[in-house]
Amino acid sequence: MNATALDRYGHVDGVAALVAFVAGPESSYITGSNLTVDGGMNA
């Protein structure tokens, strides 16, 4: 866990919210993108 900046595990809801957003019309100019929901692990 030390490698995770937010120092906690993510909730599945947090991932699901991004999946729903990327699948929806408000992300209409996002394509081919790799999005991270990692509590800062790759920052």
Binding site: L18, F21, Y29, S33
Partner: protein, 248 residues
Amino acid sequence: MSSPVVLITGALTGIGRAAAVIFAQEGAHVVVSGRRDKEGQELAAELQALGAEAIFVRTDVRNEDDVRNLVDQTVKRFGRLDIAVNNAGTEGVPGLVTDQTAESYAATFDSNVLGVLLSMKHELRAMLPQGSGSIVNVSSAYGSVGAAGASVYVASKHAVEGLTKSAALEVAGTGVRVNVVAPGTTDTGMLTRFTNTDGNKTALVSTVPVKRLAAPEEIAHVIAFVASANASYMTGASIPVDGGMIAD
């Protein structure tokens, strides 16, 4: 949270303006900032007509006193700062590396890099004692790839990516998140100035996989998502909104 308090720099045009309208429509209290009083007051009135509580605070993000005042006025009016969108920026003076000067460098970096740095500094001054807050910086697809003829702009946007990651790590665990949205070719005045001619703009769009410009709202919706509690495990992240530009 009833009505989040949202601060936006560079709010008078383009992506910043679109974000201000979306946050207002979502019921936020909105503080818009920019350098032009008349346009700022008109935007605040437009947001109020949408039902939002909104104020304009004249701000040049290159000036620390202005930025300090922007945050102070926000907290004075609304009692806190929940979301900050650091969107102010300039295309600078595009040109070859061999044509650049100390002045052209400073003109771009002062707005795009120093502006974001000072903005985060003072926003965090309000957010850290709250134990909550969400900062969304705005970089560019040119924050992760190079572009011939745009070196200084490209470098400044790479810097915004680095500032974002570092700030996110510094405040991780405090309740404050810091992320960056990286727009591609967006239909704004900046793109028109950046490309200079219709032919250049058409040529640039032809290189984008989706073969069209983004509407400013298409960037602003992503900013609003990343700022929201729905993105509560996202920090230090860079979100490309570029029609496939950097996937290519």
